[in-house]
Amino acid sequence: MGSQSFSDALGVDYGALAPLLIVLGGACVSVLLEAVLPRVRRRSVQLVFSLAVVVVALAAVIIRATSGAGDVVVLAGSLSVDAPGLFLWGTLLALAVPSVLMLADRSVEPGGVFVADPEALAEAQERVGAGSLRSTSSGLPSGTGTDTHGVVGRRGGAGPEPTTPPEMHTEIFPFVLFALGGMLAFSAANDLLTMFVALEVLSLPLYLLCGLARRRRLLSQEAAVKYFLLGAFASAFFLYGVALLYGYAGSVRLADIAASAAGPLRSDALLFAGLALLVVGLMFKASVGPFHTWTPDVYQGAPTPVTAFMAACTKVAAFGAILRVFTVAFGTTALEWRGVLWAVAIASMVIGTVLGITQTDLKRMVAYSSVAHAGFILIGCLAITPAGLSGTLFYLLAYGFTTIAILGLVSLVRSGDGEAGHLSGYAGLAQRSPVVAAALSFCLLALAGVPLTSGFTAKFAVFSAGLADGMAPLVIVGLVCSAIAAFFYLRVIVLMYFSDPAPDGPTVSLPGPMTTVAITLGVAVTLLLGVLPTAALEWAGAGTFLG
């Protein structure tokens, strides 16, 4: 808002900022808890605290959204709390609840994904009969998520006296809260520098989380390194784009860029070069093809709960930012750059679909499916209309919950050494575990876009917005890709229902209450948004971005 006086802008509207402040404040407190609490109590306290933070923040968003308080720009114009922003915040926080539950779950595999020392745990389990488990004071390094040499160090230091291993890496809770805070800021950022800072705040904890798996560590660490290196490149692109845009507009504020573009005639080279670089950075985070190359490796290598958190929440945050940048900063020049992004959207849909067919690992398949879905979502982003905005927001909500449910279910199907990622492990699953198979089938049908699931409603919303805005070719490509993609979703269902199980096939873990809640929530929302999407659609269409 160019006309807003400076003093107004400086005044901090705590009501509007509450969710963000709660999450970031909670993250700081969580770090302190990590330092002061005895190790045995950390997990339960951290879990309850993190959940409480997320829920309270979600409540704050809902209160803000229903109070009828107007859209405001806060903190000297660096953050914009408007109706779509609130919807994005609500989506992020709602998705964070099942994510946190899955991260904390220890029922699916012994000690949880983030058990600090699986070998020691295994030893301790063997010794369970020998003595009571007591807490240890062996000087293990704590609070260092990058402690990748922990096993070696500890083995040396453990000495002859048997010690009970610590429960799990509880650092993941502050990481998640910081990442979540970064996502909230990212999707609400009203200037490009804030957006960049938020991007880093959300990315760094994610890099660490990816590398924290204690089983199949090499895969996990490789994923983290790959994600980090490529992410750093993407950040650099983003920053270079910001610099060029600053050169063009003399401001990093989104609305100022739009105003400059509409202003007196000058060379657009800086504007579009800046946009191109900016888009590379943003598309990377949203895993839109052809900037998707990290996606399959990271999805596969990261611990599954982290994959779920990343797949659902990062996508929401990144597309939230993309929507805001396109609408507020570049809405006036859309005609000139949209053609390029058509190509990106088509590339993303085709790459995701075609490569998805060739995958034999379910997590990689979900990764490529997410690339295809990113292309669909991009159609909604490119339609710079209220319908496109609400359709995209709805799509993000629907897709997030379905993905969390799918990855939760994937984590349950286990063979000897970990998750049975390979598709052949799913043969005959319906006979071993009909409920898991039914839930997974339902979610896969949702990804395919069968009516009465949220996937269909979302696709309909996005495609109709695209068609109304004159993007018929894109919509047709989208529909064809949906049809092709149905093949690989269906292949899994065929395996689960119509094939005979292998005798030494994987087992299905009985999920503990936390994973159960997370999966149930995902499936229920998928069904609800498919059958009765009205409330969510109305909220998504409640307003437009505030420039």
Binding site: A448, L467, T534
Partner: protein
């Protein structure tokens, strides 16, 4: 009446849920009985609605009801019946109890593939899936909102997919996936058009809507170029579903691999959604495009008539044979619809009902034969009429109604189609008439090979302890085709006998309907005709046939 229509949709769905719960509880027999009871209640309900339906009512739809569903998209869960929809729902209501009875109370279920415990899968799950399919199909036929129609169009794939995939023949996985993917692809192409017409209604009517009546009013404003694109989207889905010839390849696979009961509903009713879609959506919503593109559809239809007939004659598998005869019949239905005369369209609508009955009969008889011989290969049978005269007789009835012998139901509709198509499309009519001759050929040939002559074939006399002797007796160059006498004691060695009372009971209603509708089609025509007239006026083509039935 509107309340009854809603009950009509909900009852099978509730029944399916109950059956599903019973099957989960291990009470398969109870589930089957409960499902059968539900399907009978549904039939009674349809009869009541048929009685309440007023053919002379001035409105396009009767028993309308509408509940707001997704206001953001202008979608209402709107139901209403016209004559054609009612006829299709009635057909479904007749076939479902027959299929359930056949599957649950005869030997049919023995043919189901083994479940995880090594036992054949119980029929209870099949019954539950069948009832859910019925609920979805009723909603589909009764939908007066394009979005609801689309949703049902896609959702109906799911129960059918599981019916084929869980209860089908040896290659059921392949067939189920092929069926799903073909239909899903068609559905997505249609989704493009559904979105297109929605967007067009938004720009031209002010508020975007899916209401069928509103969209029909929109038709007058849409330029032909737009209509053609939208028409093609709908047409692709319906042509795959119907199926018209280049898009038909999924049907023989699905028809051959589906369990008999599934095949009856698949070919008898589910495929009718395609031609129903032509009548309810393509013609009224895109009248200009329908007229412009009619030659395309007519060519495909006539090709279907001949190609389906030829391939039917060449089949070695009886279930594939039934599927190909259907492709030929769908050609006739397409011809009638796109010939745009009151008689031909009414004939097509009637054909939709009659073909359902004929195919059901043929499928069931084939199923009963296959349940005895353990094979669906034509070559495995011969001279069955000697050991199972009732089965052979009913096979003949089914065959004769398939080839449209006068006096059977199909004749009336086929005759109406040809009579009504002649004034406007003489060339296509003449070519399609040739198909009738082919029909006689393929039906009688199959009958001759399986039912008449001496006892022969693996399934009839072979396979058992006396197989080697049977082959020795039958062997040699002068094999029994030319010999009109049975090998000695062949009758004693025959592996199966005639139909049981239950099986005859399953077929009896169909036989009754075949002859009833063959001689008195008027009650159905009375219900269909108003909807046909309305469709004709929506297309805006003058009827080429005068009131006295003579071409102008």
């Amino acid at each position: 009446m509107s309340a009854l229509v809603i009950v009509l949709v909900l009852l099978p769905l509730v029944g399916a849920t109950v059956c599903g719960v019973l099957v989960k509880g291990g009470r398969d027999a109870t589930a089957r009985s409960a499902g059968f009871a539900v399907s009978l209640v549904e039939l009674v309900l349809v009869a009541v609605i048929w009685g309440l339906f007023d053919p002379s009512a001035p409105t396009r739809f009767q028993g309308e009801s509408s509940v707001e569903w997704i206001p953001a998209f202008g979608v209402s869960f709107a139901l209403g019946l016209d004559g054609i929809a009612l006829a299709m729902i009635a057909l479904l209501a007749v076939l479902v109890p027959i299929v359930i009875a056949y599957t649950s109370f005869t030997r049919a279920a023995e043919r189901f593939p083994d479940g995880p415990d090594g036992e054949p899968r119980g029929a209870g799950g099949f019954v539950a899936l069948m009832l859910s399919l019925q609920g979805v199909l009723v909603a589909l036929f009764a939908a007066t909102d394009v979005f609801v129609f689309y949703v049902m169009f896609e959702v109906m794939l799911v129960p059918m997919y599981f019916i084929i995939g869980r209860f089908g023949g040896a290659r059921r996985q392949y067939a189920a996936v092929k069926f799903f993917l073909y239909s899903f692809l068609g559905g997505l192409i249609m989704l493009g058009s559904v979105i297109g017409i929605y967007v067009a209604s938004g720009t031209r009517l002010g508020a975007a809507t899916f209401d069928w009546a509103e969209l029909q009013r929109l038709a007058a404003q849409l330029p032909e170029s737009t209509q053609i694109f939208l028409f093609l989207g709908f047409f692709a889905a319906f042509a795959i579903k119907a199926p018209l010839v280049p898009l038909h390849t999924w049907l023989p696979d699905a028809g051959a691999q589906a369990p008999i009961g599934g095949g009856v509903i698949l070919v008898g009713v589910l495929d009718k959604v395609g031609v129903f879609g032509f009548l309810r959506y393509c013609l009224p919503l895109f009248p200009l495009a329908s007229q412009t593109l009619a030659p395309l559809v007519l060519v495909l239809s006539v090709i279907g008539v001949l190609y389906g007939a030829l391939l039917a004659a060449m089949q070695t598998d009886m279930k594939r044979f039934v599927s190909y005869t259907s492709i030929a019949h769908f050609g006739f239905i397409g011809l009638g619809i796109f010939a745009f005369s009151q008689q031909s369209v009414a004939g097509s609508a009637l054909y939709m009902v009659n073909h359902g009955i004929s195919t059901a009969m043929l499928f069931l008889v084939v199923g009963m034969l296959a349940a005895r011989g353990g094979s669906t290969q034509i070559a495995d049978y011969g001279g069955v009429g000697k050991i199972a005269p009732v089965l052979a007789g009913l096979f003949l009835v089914a065959g004769l109604t398939t080839l449209s012998l006068p006096g059977t139901n199909s004749f009336v509709s086929e005759f109406l189609v040809l009579l009504g198509s002649w004034p406007r499309e003489p060339v296509y009519t003449v070519i399609a008439t040739v198909g009738i001759i082919f029909a006689a050929l393929y039906v009688l040939w199959v009958y001759q090979r399986t039912m008449t002559g001496p006892l022969r074939g693996e399934a009839v006399v072979g396979g058992g302890p006396g197989a080697a002797t049977a082959r020795a007796l039958a062997g040699g160059p002068g094999f029994s085709d030319t010999v009109d006498t049975d090998p000695p004691d062949a009758t004693r060695r025959a592996r199966f006998g005639d139909l049981s009372g239950r099986e005859i009971g399953v077929l009896a209603p169909l036989v009754l309907l075949i002859f009833l509708l063959g001689f008195f089609p008027q009650p159905v025509l009375d219900v269909i005709n108003p909807a046909v007239s309305a469709t004709m006026s929506e297309v805006g083509v003058a009827d080429p046939v005068g009131p006295n039935g003579v071409a102008r």
